[in-house]
């Protein structure tokens, strides 16, 4: 625990990325297993501990310190964990447990004995060590180290390429014994089955209609609809079937209907959607199924999950990523043919001859089917993780615009904490205005200053950080789509709303009405 606390202090006090990498590499070099692996997991926040609440920590310290002295100190220091670490009045000499034992204590101690364990640990520690332990048990370990930085440090420590770590990362398990054995040169690289681990995704860039189409030849590209769901990777074989989000989060358990359907062995790239008979419903139906810990039976029935598949990375253990897109597509089509599945469908290709023609198809698709836009993929493109410039483009449909009235403004965060920068706006419903959304970008810094000034001068009520303003200022709000939402008073929710223009000139009476908004709303019959 001592070395770990020291590492955390170094990481928090260093702003340089390279030095953080060095500190981590040094820690890996001098720390035995399994402590270094557990520390790594704690830092990348992959370690899930039985966390205690900060109120538990506070209660324990208040048994030892005068409450008013504690309150004054907390007020001055600003961080509960640090205040407790510094103010803890008792010290005893003795050894702190290793990271491994510390975690074991935490997991195995019955709840009633936790306060005694906690105070024993605090007594034995220096302020810095107390701080590290408190941060660990309350789950607030924020030391400015991303998973990527941690992997960079591992690569440096083992003198291997970062890409090699990335390749196997998602197949490793805490405390990473096989990984460290390999980095120490004691064993070969851990063999991870490709069909059991996440592979970093290839992403696209927005197309610039004016500049890009001049240079791009129609014949070099294939077009597909841009599906309005979430990007997923399906990773499965006979033993395991998993689904990952684009950032590599395992979301298998949220969509058992889908993962249980997978047969064969492959890594597929596609879009997760919901709908009966693989007809996609609007995004907010999918959203109801996301981020849920428990699965709602009704959702499984009403919003069955399926994936529009558009790429294949591995067929069994065979790596197809270095093949050109065209060949991968052929492999994907034949794979789909030989693996019948009611939850997977091929993302169809859109035939087109000219950009002009494709533009019309895109507009028609947006109007008639509510498609979000079109994806363009270079036929020769290999599957390259990251966002390379050139091979893949997204061509979104034009944003929708609505004139709405500013209702409430809230203070922003960080750099904007002194500005009212988050705006709630609404449209007319009879004689009242009902909120339809919230936006906090789309304006310049100069405009933000003007808006802030306007908000302060036109406040009619205050609720904490929020001000209600006179219903006089009109925003032209841009958004990607509108959906039915029972959670909003207006019954409407907007996707990606942003302030397109501030209509200082426009009277509020001329803003949009709720009836007028219905024109934009998709998926009404399904709500």
């Amino acid at each position: 625990m001592k070395a770990f606390a020291e590492l955390l202090e170094q990481l928090i006090l260093t702003s340089s990325r390279n030095k953080k990498v060095d500190y981590l590499a040094q820690y890996f070099a001098k720390t035995p297993d399994p402590d270094r692996g557990l520390a790594l997991a704690a830092i990348t926040r992959d370690l899930s501990l039985r966390h205690v609440k900060s109120s538990f920590v506070k209660q324990n310290v208040l048994e030892r310190v005068d409450p008013q002295l504690f309150a004054l100190s907390y007020d001055y220091v600003g961080d509960l964990g640090e205040t407790v670490a510094l103010i803890w009045p008792e010290t005893e000499s003795g050894e702190l447990p290793s990271v491994k034992d510390f975690i074991a204590f935490l997991e195995d101690t019955p709840k009633a004995e936790l306060p005694a364990l906690f105070s024993d640990l605090m007594d034995l520690a220096t302020p810095n060590e107390r701080w590290a332990m408190i941060k660990m048990i309350t789950g607030g370990l924020r030391v400015g180290v991303s998973a990527r930085l941690a992997k960079t440090a591992l690569a440096k420590y083992g003198n291997v390429e970062l890409q090699e770590i990335e390749e196997i990362w998602h197949g490793l398990t805490i405390p990473y014994l096989k990984l460290f054995a390999w980095l120490d040169g004691k064993t070969d690289k851990p063999q991870i089955k490709h069909t059991e681990t996440f592979h970093p995704l290839m992403l696209s860039n927005p197309v610039d209609e004016i500049k890009d189409f001049e240079k791009l030849s129609e014949a070099d590209f294939a077009a597909e609809w841009k599906w309005d769901g979430i990007r997923v990777q399906l990773v499965f074989n006979e033993d395991t079937q998993r689904m990952f989000s684009r950032t590599g989060d395992d979301i298998s358990h949220t969509f058992p209907d889908l993962t249980e359907s997978l047969n064969g062995a492959a890594v597929l790239d596609g879009e997760l959607l919901v709908g009966k008979d693989m007809e996609p419903l609007p995004f907010n139906n999918l959203q109801q199924r996301l981020n849920r810990k428990t699965i709602v039976k009704k959702h499984l029935k009403d919003y069955p999950a399926f994936v529009r598949v558009y790429d294949i990375l591995f067929d069994g253990e065979e790596d197809l990523r270095t093949l050109p897109w065209q060949e991968r597509r052929a492999r994907l089509e034949s794979w789909m043919e030989s693996h019948d599945n009611k939850r997977l469908s091929l993302s169809e290709l859109i035939p087109f001859k000219s950009w002009e023609e494709l533009k019309k198809i895109r507009e028609k698709g947006a109007e008639e089917q509510g498609h979000e836009g079109i994806m363009l993929k270079r036929k020769t493109s290999v599957y390259e993780p990251g966002r390379p410039k050139g091979p893949w483009y997204k061509w979104k449909r034009d944003a929708r615009l609505v004139d709405a009235v500013l209702m409430y403004a809230q203070r922003g965060h960080g750099k904007r904490s002194s500005f009212y920068s988050d705006y709630t706006f609404g449209v007319w419903k009879g004689n009242e205005i009902v909120p339809i959304g919230k936006a906090y970008f789309g304006f310049t810094d100069q405009e933000l200053k003007q808006l802030d000034k306007w908000v302060r001068a036109n406040t009619i009520q205050r609720f904490g950080p929020v001000r209600e303003v006179k219903k006089e200022l009109v925003f032209e709000v841009a958004f990607d789509s509108a959906h039915v939402s029972p959670r909003h008073k207006s019954g409407i929710a907007l996707r990606f709303p942003r302030i397109n223009r501030i209509r200082w000139d426009k009277p509020a009476q001329e803003a949009e009405t709720l009836d007028g908004m219905q024109f934009f709303v998709e998926g009404q019959s399904d709500s």
């Binding site: 202090e9 006090l13 260093t14 008013q68 220096t126």
Partner: protein, 309 residues
């Protein structure tokens, strides 16, 4: 703060010693320090008073007693018809080999500073902080170690502590520290070999220790050193966020002020029944004093900044 006809000066820090008074009473070392900082004529007349020597002004007897803060620092004891009042000035109770050790002066009224008057301030052993510095130096021998420390007292104490850990290479000091380091050396406090970094090349500073005033850490002056580790010797370094915000990579919690435990222990040791708290976080210390049955009041002084080192 207006110049005064008679000023008793506790020590030479700028927020306690100001020029322009008619007559100044202080310890011999403090008078010497004031003269070196503000010039020979910074007061009309000076009167050196050794520790423990009593001087009568009308019905009041004045004496100065070691405060353990910096060289020459003193507490002031005023006695009037058997009533004893002590003004501590700045003080710390732990040992410091660059100045006379703090002495508990029994009294009825104790006027104490409270720079670190919150229980979160529990200063660690200074020698351990220096060990941290020397360990970091061994681990990163290619970098220079730049320590921010105030020119009077803190800089000399840090250097002395480094020497006491057995470090005998030359230590580089910023020009602003030169005069006072020389004075300390003249007074028999051995700081070892001190050098100016002027005229040397970047490559000359790998693994070297450099001491400068805090203001120089982020100044052009620091650019001459190779990838310096910015260290800062101060009681404020206790608070991690504070160290981080000021860009300090190696915080050294070394203070010339009493920490919470020293403050509370000293208050009890003086036997005073009335405590006036000033200069810092009065609220917490006043609350503490009242909680142990003492009469306590915050005392807000004229011309004080909120914070000093």
């Amino acid at each position: 703060m207006k110049p005064s006809r008679l000023a008793i000066i506790t020590h030479g820090h700028a927020d306690h010693a100001r020029p322009g008074h008619d007559h100044v009473i202080a310890t011999p070392d403090t008078i010497e320090i004031i003269k070196r900082r503000y010039g020979e004529n910074c007061a009309k007349t000076f009167e050196a008073l050794e520790y423990g020597v009593e001087k009568k002004i009308k019905d009041v007897t004045i004496s100065l007693h070691p405060a353990g803060h910096v060289l020459g620092s003193a507490q002031v004891l005023l006695q009037y018809q058997g009533y004893r009042a002590v003004m501590t000035g700045d003080y710390k109770a732990r040992p410091d080999s660059t100045c006379a050790s703090f002495e508990v002066v029994p009294c009825d009224l104790f006027v104490t500073e409270a720079t670190f008057g919150l229980p979160v301030f529990q200063h660690p052993d200074s020698a351990d902080e220096i060990k941290k510095l020397l360990k970091a130096r061994e681990e990163q021998p290619e970098r220079a170690f730049l320590i921010g420390a105030y020119a009077l007292g803190k800089a000399q104490r840090v250097i002395k502590l480094i020497r006491e850990e057995g470090y005998d290479r030359p230590i580089y000091i910023h020009g602003a520290l030169k005069k006072l380091c020389e004075f300390y050396q003249e007074r028999g406090i051995n700081l070892g070999e001190l050098r100016s970094p002027t005229g040397l090349k970047k490559d000359d500073f790998h693994g070297e220790i450099v001491v400068g005033p805090p203001s120089a850490l982020k100044d052009q002056w620091s650019r001459r050193f190779p990838d310096p580790v910015v260290a800062y010797a101060s009681g404020w370094m206790t608070i991690k966020q504070r160290a981080r915000q000021s860009g300090v990579e190696l915080p050294l919690v070394i203070s010339d002020h009493a920490d919470w435990n020293e403050l509370t222990e000293t208050i009890k040791a003086t036997g005073a029944s009335k405590i006036w708290v000033t200069h810092g976080r009065e609220d917490a210390l006043v609350h503490y004093c009242r909680s142990i049955g003492l009469e306590a009041e915050p005392l807000y002084l004229q011309g004080r900044d909120d914070e000093e080192d």
